[in-house]
Symmetry: C2
């Protein structure tokens, strides 16, 4: 899938919305912004600051209305996914851009938005571990892997997977050397102090407390997905 030889320029649209998880977006941004001949568009409904989950605010640079055709559509996740799954204008924008784009991609619960826009049905894809069952409700073949590629759909698991996800994309599109240079430049030689980064490795009490703390948001999310599916 390496397109290094025949790609003259790459246009990536990163979709922003209120209450997103900022690292879902800023992890991949750090890598995408260093790809050669690549233009990033920070897309939002309007140019007002985007306030992320815990308050950090970013400035988008391109409105949905002014968005050019994209080679790659990218959607992050976060608590703000909940209202966006029922925002028709937002989903229409994803659908129109996603159907034209060469690559349709997401990190974390961004895949719920792609699925709500009808862009993941029949594809293998992943999402944050807490939302895998919700993604499956949309008719997506969910996979418990950190980065999943199925034809031109590329999805990452929760939050920090976006760094691995974007390095995989860098290698796919521009070759291993570019991806390795970016990895060395950002000194991505991770050494987590604990083995608690996945429900496959975390202690049971840690899984229980994280699940309990997010239960309310996840239950509301489940009701939204059920409502969406009952309307179709």
């Amino acid at each position: 899938m390496t397109v290094q030889e025949n790609i003259s320029s790459l246009s990536i649209g990163m979709v922003l919305f209120q209450n997103l998880t900022q690292l879902d977006f800023t992890g991949p941004y750090e890598i995408f912004a260093k790809l050669p001949n690549t233009q990033l568009h920070l897309l939002a409904e309007n140019l007002e600051p985007i306030r992320s989950e815990r308050g950090l605010s970013f400035l988008p640079d391109t409105t949905f209305d002014e968005c050019p055709a994209l080679d790659m559509l990218f959607v992050p996740g976060g608590p703000g996914v909940n209202p966006k799954m029922e925002d028709k204008n937002f989903l229409d924008f994803l659908k129109i851009q996603g159907e034209k784009a060469s690559y349709v991609t997401s990190v974390c619960t961004g895949s719920l938005l792609l699925a709500a826009a009808g862009l993941l049905q029949g594809y293998r894809a992943t999402t944050h571990w807490l939302s895998l069952d919700l993604l499956a409700m949309f008719g997506v073949e969910t996979v418990k892997e950190r980065v999943v590629i199925d034809r031109n759909r590329i999805t990452g698991a929760g939050v920090t997977s976006g760094i691995d996800f974007a390095l995989v994309i860098a290698a796919e599109l521009f070759g291993d050397k570019i991806a390795q240079e970016i990895q060395l430049g950002m000194e991505y030689n991770p050494q987590p102090p604990f083995q608690s980064g996945s429900p496959q490795t975390a202690p049971l009490d840690i899984i229980a407390s994280v699940t309990a703390a997010t239960q309310n948001r996840q239950e509301i999310r489940r009701q939204i997905v059920q409502r969406l599916l009952s309307q179709n």
Copy 2:
């Protein structure tokens, strides 16, 4: 060093400046923002948007003049470090806040700014691998480790080390359980697609190309450090 028992609230000041490397700051932010009873201040000289290295812009929320006393001072790095090493007002702010803070911390070349402000002399500390020799010129005992703790100075290596760095801080201050919950919530189970994240593991041609691409900036940086040291 765990202060979980006796800490009623923690105030962290994250110092922003033009042309910083955004992931140096957004990686730790994602973790710091989830600490209990913790207030983050996004500090800058004024409240104008901060444009990071590749264009992504953030909004600070507190000016240096209005900054309260901090429990922890945090400084990220990036190309913007070069002019800031010679910005007396900026360094004075770091020095005044750093001397009062319980913890003085940095990621990537933020440690060059701490050193330029006189806050790291005689301490063990680290920085981005390309700048270790420059940090040593300040009389800092440089260490090729991902996270270095020496008394109340805590420094991280390049860019993505900020995630490991902040999880280590979370564990030190609030205990392992809080740190592990945050790690699981952000699904930090890294799987880099290559082993090129460190000059100890990257292929020689990758090291050579990254070194060549940054040679000009590093040479200017060296001249700045030499100028600073000749003035003292």
